[in-house]
């Protein structure tokens, strides 16, 4: 696949070759980060890159998300670019004056060189991109797509298992029905020969369409409600937050909260070389004592996400 000048809108855009090309670039970016973030004694700390000198990114967040916005902005700045920031577009933009996203795209194409956009409505990022002559990166359009999250998750697995994804048993635990994160990761993992274990309450099972797609690729899928009986086999454990906003009521969400909790005791049942992942923010699905467990990778994922976004931006712009 070609990256330069492309919109990055969905996980489906990436084939295996594209992923591997991206991973190589991410490795380069990790070197850049080590250089820049070194404690500056002995003059070892390096300045900003020049790769994106002269380039400007706009972040358009119609649904606030500090973590994702900060990750994109940091990525662009570390490569020598500059950023103009729309943190709260729903309340501060021409959206109020009924401008279409198509027009917003036409307008911004005159000003900046790339856009990272988040919006609560599925398809909204595509609408903006349809008016853009510059690349647009989807930073999440509601329950629909959030490709860079999926990319950082698959990269985290690739990095921790040193490229050997084939043969891994991938556990995903929690609300499989609504988890965009789990769906995206499946989209990427189907290129390797892995087994899946989806652990969820009966009402929050993985959608049939996702399971069927994986089975269509001849991949084994186990669906269960039982975490304790299956955690010991998992190489990767992806835990997910109960997202209140996806349920009809707070009560409904509350019912499922605390169903699968990862604490030190539960982690004793997991493999010694498993990795524990979470998209953050966590609420109560992982207790803080687990933070000290070397298998806990959820904060490392943030760093991986930064390197992934740097790589993607460098390749696209």
């Amino acid at each position: 696949m070609e990256f330069k000048g492309q919109h990055i809108l969905t996980a489906e855009q990436f084939d295996k070759k594209g992923l591997l090309a991206l991973f190589e670039k991410v490795r380069e970016m990790e070197e850049v980060l080590v250089g820049q973030r070194a404690v500056s004694d002995g003059g070892k700390s390096k300045g900003f890159e020049k790769t994106l000198d002269g380039k400007i990114m706009a972040t358009l967040f119609y649904e606030p998300s500090t973590r994702t916005r900060f990750s994109f902005e940091t990525a662009f700045l570390r490569l020598g670019g500059k950023v103009i920031s729309g943190a709260d577009m729903m309340n501060t933009s021409s959206a109020k004056k009924k401008e279409t996203l198509y027009d917003t795209g036409k307008t911004l194409s005159q000003l900046v060189d790339v856009i990272a956009m988040r919006h609560p409505e599925p398809g909204s990022v595509d609408e903006l991109a349809s008016g853009c002559s510059i690349p647009v990166i989807n930073a999440g359009d509601g329950p629909h797509q959030h490709p860079t999250q999926g990319l950082l998750d698959i990269y985290t697995i690739w990095k921790n298992f040193e490229g050997k994804i084939d043969g891994l048993k991938i556990g995903m635990v929690g609300d499989m029905k609504h988890s965009r994160v789990a769906h995206s990761l499946c989209e990427f993992l189907k290129y390797w020969n892995v087994e899946f274990v989806f652990v969820s309450p009966e009402e929050l099972k993985m959608p049939e369409v996702v399971v069927e797609e994986l089975k269509g690729e001849d991949l084994k899928v186990l669906e269960t409600t039982d975490l304790e009986g299956t955690i010991g086999e998992m190489d990767v454990i992806l835990t997910t937050r109960i997202q209140e906003e996806r349920f009809s009521s707070a009560d409904e969400a509350e019912k499922h909260r605390g169903m699968y909790v990862f604490d030190s005791e539960m982690m004793e049942k997991a493999k010694a070389d498993a990795i524990l992942m979470n998209p953050l923010p966590r609420v109560d699905e992982i207790t803080t004592d687990v933070d000290y467990d070397p298998r806990a990778k959820y904060f490392d994922q943030v760093g991986n996400g930064l390197a992934v976004r740097m790589a993607l931006l460098a390749m696209v712009v």
Copy 2:
């Protein structure tokens, strides 16, 4: 007129000589933009300018306007400066603690090198400027002034007609009563020998004071409600949005909406070498099929606005 160190508060500050000096500088800035925005194969893409290296601009938006804020910030960044951003000053600033704008001006003069400010109250930008020892650019103070919008409009005409403004017939269509954009453009056009056609409903006619000023300069003015009968003579067609916020009720605004709509059919009646302008955001005064018409210049205006603001900032700071 002198630019360096000056506040830019009103359209009236600019005489013809000042406008022409500005236009020459805008041309230079367009070269800079071509260099920076080139697709970076073959190493043709250039880094940021150094003109404003060491300089910081604050944007103070007491009335959110993403388009205008992004345009000012992009302009400053492209010249090598840096920006601190107040996107939503009404809700996040000391305005809540009853600080006067005079004091805000005194304070910010200690920190930054130039300010771009928007505020819903006429005269508010002047109040801030009265406390400032650094240049202040008015980015719109309610219905009062928004000089850089007027400058980009007159520059768009100058550029498209290669400097030959004398003899043009200028059409302005829509709400002439409330349109700050139309009023500002008249302020600049009076320096040339042009004719005006103002098309509006009877209740939304151009204010007497504007018409009288133009006539005082010996310029011909025609006022009419009839678009179809006059569009064929216009060299420049400035269309304006019905701005709900200027009417006493939404119903009142709705009454006038859709009165003058520019679609492909209407554009067939226009001159082959006319230009169609709009300050954006458009709502329904221009249909999207017109976007493909080479006479449509409203998105180009955004790019012209960027170059105009770059020129102005470079001359003032």
Copy 3:
């Protein structure tokens, strides 16, 4: 005291040696500012410093404060760093998704090199810092601490009296009970041999614990309600705003407003070489005619604050 890599959370962290080391650095920064802010004729104006090239600061403001945020951001930018900006974290961040500040700290440590944070809750900045492997600067946690404000106040005194603080009579006037600014300044002044005059209404007296600490250092303290009778002796006059948000009702606040007003007439009673300070924003405790009095230093304090924050960031990062 050591600065590099440290959190800056409280005034108590600074000993006299640390203060003096900081002051020397602030002097250097004032040179940098003179270079950058010079009017750029004759090529005297200098570009951004390179000290923090490659470094990124995040500002996290859970309680909006444009003045303090702009001061920190400007300071970091002038040293060659870059900034990502959270101006309105309470409404735009994962705080809504119930993320702990500890987790926010863990997350941001993966992205940026230093954090400046403001929050309405006492202790909140410490909580964030407990998750951070990067330095955190407290930019105010409610009524608790705001060390850089105290530092700029003590620096203002040090600078104006050319380092000779011993022997000065320090007046503080207004709401001594709630004034974080006054409390912090006492924390620093106790290292010198000064006398204090606290002027306040009976109900808003300086807390006993502050007075006792000063007396414990063998410093003289006078408490009084009488400004006119004491102003003539003061070398430093720190005035404070009645902060409505610290009172149980607006009426309660109103009662004390206008009790001690500094106008030209009052300033006639002050020493010829006294200095008049205020943390800003002022409301009505100082009339604008006093702005022209050379003894008025409240706007200079903003510039001093910029230099102090530059020095601190350069030493910590």
